[in-house]
Symmetry: C2
Subunit: 281 residues, 2 copies
């Protein structure tokens, strides 16, 4: 599984790098970005925060806009950002060219339906293949945290809730918190997983939180001026499910903030510290 380095740029005394490699899970080439903090040069293994981006994003948005490298360099956290879907000439996209399904919209699940099931296996990629790669090729320990935004917030919550023991920390910004009951999720699940709504429950954080095998405290930030809040995101459903299950969820409604990276960057330091408390030291 060789890695092709696409770029390497110094940032806060560490290195922001992009790599391309052949993915077994995705049946094709994929690209990820990785930030190595300066502590990586000491040779010790560092914890890793995986970041899952939202609809239409690539591996680059988070590294360019969230401003996470400053504090990651201080805390000694590796940051890893995969792409948001499989890509490539043989990967099918939305039949109508929509931005909320297909390319850039893998929803971090493992598709079971044709023609999606061959390439759209972002859950397996994020949970298994990518950490194995990172922990082989970089000074990365198996202390893993996961976070993300919007579709990627959904992905982070689902990855953590479905895989007890795999992560030591989890958080999300404006997650699609109850995807089986919102238009983005219904469109994605019905195509990727099929018509049987019972199977959708395996990919919905508001369901999974009631069945959790372990208890990782979850931090969620949500802006109250987010244009997608009511129709797509539904954090109140997740909050109610957590309370019903006595699951430790901290949902912070941030007044005035929208769905953009200006919201993420405003609170990214809080999330990094939330992860570092579980991952570092």
């Amino acid at each position: 599984m060789p890695l092709e380095q696409l770029s390497s740029q110094k940032c806060f005394a560490g290195w922001l790098q992009r790599f391309r490699h052949r993915s077994a899970a995705l049946h094709g080439d994929t690209v990820f970005a990785l930030y190595l903090p300066p502590q990586a040069e000491r040779g010790e293994k560092l914890p890793v925060l995986y970041w899952l981006s939202g609809l239409t994003c690539t591996d680059e948005n988070f590294m360019q806009k969230a401003g996470a490298q400053r504090l990651a360099a201080e805390l000694g956290l590796i940051l890893v950002a995969p792409d948001t879907s499989p890509r490539g000439p043989d990967v099918p996209g939305d039949p109508d060219g929509a931005w909320d399904f297909g390319l850039g919209a893998g929803f971090y699940l493992d598709a079971t339906e044709a023609p999606w099931s061959r390439h759209y296996r972002m859950h397996e990629f994020v949970v298994d293949e990518l950490p194995a790669l990172v922990e082989t090729h970089f000074p990365a320990s198996d202390r893993r945290g996961i976070s993300g935004h919007s579709m990627g917030g959904h992905g982070a919550l689902v990855c953590a809730l479905r895989n007890p023991g795999r992560y030591r920390s989890v958080s999300a910004f404006a997650p699609v918190a109850n995807p089986m009951h919102c238009p983005w999720g219904e469109k994605a699940f019905s195509r990727y997983i099929g018509a049987d709504r019972a199977r959708w429950r395996e990919w919905d954080a508001s369901v999974l939180i009631g069945q959790a095998q372990e208890t990782l405290p979850i931090l969620v930030d949500q802006g109250d001026r987010d244009a997608f809040l009511v129709e797509q995101l539904k954090p109140a459903v997740l909050d109610a499910a957590a309370r019903a299950a006595n699951y430790p969820l901290t949902l912070r409604i941030q007044p005035g903030y929208d769905h953009s990276y200006y919201f993420i960057t405003s609170f990214i330091d809080d999330h990094l510290r939330h992860h570092a408390a579980a991952l570092c030291g």
Copy 2:
């Protein structure tokens, strides 16, 4: 001179906003971005740091990628980022469609040659019209600092050196430090200002620094892996001119850093503190 607000997004408890307005200097509509830190709600007038971006940029790059809002919110600094050239259907661009002249490449000077002289008056716009607008419509004082990157680093140095009393602080990232002797500058000056190289000296920081009427300490950061360092940027010429004139220039060569926003974000806090020391309190 009415302002049309294009967007308003909360960021670090302040507001990132974009405005369009008719510019007298540019003979057309232009757009700028402005970050109002949370202290603006108290009603007191705050100092302003003007940021000039580099070739191909718009008013948006700095606000999206530099990560300056975090510390500006702490320090109580307003940030203002204009576009990098006039724009619009009647604004001529590079005849060959090149990215280093014309649209996105105004070089922060006042063109004297046809067909550029009608619209390409970025120096007048940045030094006079934009501050007047900002100080009229926002809680902005006349305590002004100026900084920028690459072409915008050249712009910041030239704006400060040509206009004693106008700014209280100045800094630059990877400035085009001796534009009359590099390909970008020679192309721009020969078209915007004409063939007489004696007149180019009025727009070259390495010349102006030897004629300075006031002494503002200058901070310059420059990456040593910057692909444009040798051919285009030439900080050593500026450094030599400053030493010959006994002008207080701090030139920091930062090992390993390139020309990108990953370089800028790594040191933006140092620049904000450099400006705040002169502008705040």
